[in-house]
């Protein structure tokens, strides 16, 4: 059993991203095996207790106190804890404008503020959102762990005032060409989007950009908005606004399938919309009413094609590979593999990509496991170990407690790639790479060594491992789309501009290897 030593600092607040970076640096220190740096909320204290930290050592910590827990060489740990201040020095912010100490001070300096961007810990998020609504501001609410009751109350309050709450757990918005949260640098245009998922919104807007058209606005709603408990309050507000917005000519909605009652409400609203509408309910190939006056698509790629057509595009650029070329390539890949190689292992940073890939493979009859299974897919019992064909959402809560999300930090995915490459049954590794503001500065480079090393491991054992990757981004993103794709091609990956295309190619290889997907 591990022996943990802890220290806590009274009334020292740091945000979770900074603390995860501190923990990461500490765990890289020689003599330290594991490091955790968290605020002393009840949830965080429970996590520490589960890890084996002594209850007495954290019992007195309050949500406003910083807790550092370390295990490893006892002398090294004690020395580090004694000098912990050195580890807590924040890098200088790049902000040109001076910071404010409160929302009201910020508003006194910038009275025209129309949006509060809120990413405080979940237990404080509802109060801050309410304060912003009371001051007449729209809200982008990145924080999660907000109760559904609070979500409904806040959204009703917003609706009464003609405002919107995007979230909770809203990752992305794109308003007037400006990305908020995890968003890409996308050309302005006439297609407006409402999306329940951050990566869904990113993929849709990037594919529109790559086609040569652009986005008027992309409004996030949070993943629960279209559930029956929330009833689509933010989606309806967003549709109303995009319908009135003169820049928007076509409206698209991207979401997992809504709750049944909410689907009826949304369908009715969409059928009365004065502008053409495309609804992408992931994994659903036909709408609730085939006579509906709006189009229903099952994938983001199909929704983008429909939106482009409705916006008057004469068709996108030629595909680099046509279907038959890709089929030949898939057959060639499958032919290079050793007997026994038959499974796909998908390791995703984006939840929507995991979901959509499941849909593509499931519909081809591949018997899948996932930690975030859609209908017809088995639950992966142990998320730390794949079983058969497995698609794993590595941004799910079980992977991100106390560690950064895989869109920011590739450490966990890198380790998992190494593990999968050693499994002689694995034929295909399916990966996603997400560019844009606030993502890793070099997502492809972060995993380049792990991919090369995985290929070498397989080769040394007489196998051929296919690595299939999708990159979500644009040429104007800080990381550069083509540059990132090139890095992946250089390490032998087959690279695609969309998750559906990558998933379809991976599916074709697997079907060759399994003759039916079992």
């Amino acid at each position: 059993m591990k022996t943990w030593q802890t220290a806590f600092e009274r009334n020292r607040y740091y945000d979770s991203v900074f603390l995860m970076a501190v923990a990461h640096r500490l765990s890289d220190h020689e003599g330290i095996e594991e490091a955790v740096a968290v605020m002393g909320s009840p949830a965080n204290k429970n996590i520490l207790l589960d890890m084996g930290v002594e209850a007495a050592s954290v019992a007195d910590a309050s949500p406003n106190d910083l807790i550092i827990a370390l295990c490893g060489d006892q002398e090294v740990v004690a020395g580090v804890l004694q000098d912990i201040e050195e580890w807590l020095v924040r890098p200088k912010t790049a902000l040109a404008t001076s910071t404010a100490v409160s929302l009201d001070e910020a508003l006194s300096r910038q009275s025209t503020s129309n949006l509060a961007v809120i990413s405080v810990p979940g237990e404080y998020a509802a109060a801050e959102t309410e304060a912003a609504l009371d001051r007449g501001m729209n809200v982008f609410l990145f924080s999660d762990h907000v109760s559904v009751e609070d979500e409904v109350a806040l959204k009703k309050k917003a609706s009464e005032q003609g405002l919107i709450v995007m979230g909770p757990d809203c990752g992305t918005a794109l308003i007037g060409g400006k990305g908020i949260g995890f968003a890409n640098s996308v050309r302005r245009g006439t297609i407006g989007v409402v999306a329940a998922s951050g990566t869904g919104l990113q993929e849709f807007t990037c594919l529109v950009h790559q086609s040569g058209l652009g986005i008027s606005h992309g409004l996030g709603t949070g993943g629960r908005d279209l559930s029956n408990s929330v009833g689509g309050l933010s989606t309806l507000a967003a549709i109303d606004a995009l319908e009135e917005d003169p820049e928007t000519k076509v409206i698209a909605i991207v979401s997992k399938p809504p709750g049944e009652a909410t689907l009826r409400v949304i369908s009715e609203r969409l059928s009365q919309c004065a502008k053409p509408v495309v609804a992408c309910f992931l994994g659903v190939s036909a709408g609730p009413d085939e006579q509906a006056s709006f189009e229903v698509c099952g994938t983001i790629d199909d929704a983008v094609s429909a939106a482009l057509r409705l916006a008057g595009s004469q068709g996108g650029e030629e595909e680099v590979h046509n279907h038959s070329q890709l089929e030949l390539l898939a057959r060639d890949e499958a032919g290079r593999m050793a007997a026994g190689q038959k499974y796909i292992r998908g390791l995703f940073a984006g939840g929507t990509f995991c979901y959509q890939s499941q849909s593509v493979l499931r519909d081809a009859g591949v018997a899948l496991h996932s930690n975030a299974p859609l209908e017809g897919v088995k639950l992966l019992g142990d998320t730390a170990a794949s079983a058969g064909h497995s698609l794993v959402d590595m941004g799910a809560d079980e992977f991100t407690v106390g560690t950064p999300h895989p869109m920011i930090d590739a450490t966990q995915r890198s380790r998992r790639i190494t593990v999968e490459a050693e499994d002689p049954d694995v034929a295909v590794l399916l990966l996603d790479f997400i560019l844009g503001f606030n993502s890793s500065k070099d997502p492809a480079g972060d995993l380049g060594d792990a991919i090369s090393s995985a290929s070498r491991t397989a080769e040394a054992a007489g196998r051929h491992l296919s690595v299939v990757a999708s990159v979500c981004g644009t040429d104007e993103d800080p990381q550069g789309l083509e540059n990132q794709m090139e890095v992946l091609r250089d390490v032998g990956a087959h690279v695609f501009a969309s998750n559906v295309k990558a998933s379809s190619f991976a599916r074709d290889i697997i079907l060759q290897r399994t003759k039916g997907g079992e």
């Binding site: 406003n64 404008t97 509060a116 990413s119 924080s143 009135e244």
Partner: protein, 56 residues
Amino acid sequence: MPRLLDLLREGPISVNLGLVEFAEALEAQAAPVIHVDWTPPPLLDEETKSILDELL
């Protein structure tokens, strides 16, 4: 007119509470933003709370 439409028309003029990286990204896109150096409200004991409630 809904104030959400003002946001679409004017573009985001933001106040950022929480992760400073979000404010930095907005500033990098030339979008006006003021970052609030947010900290949790102080924890008060019941007696102090009731005194404050009376005063406010």
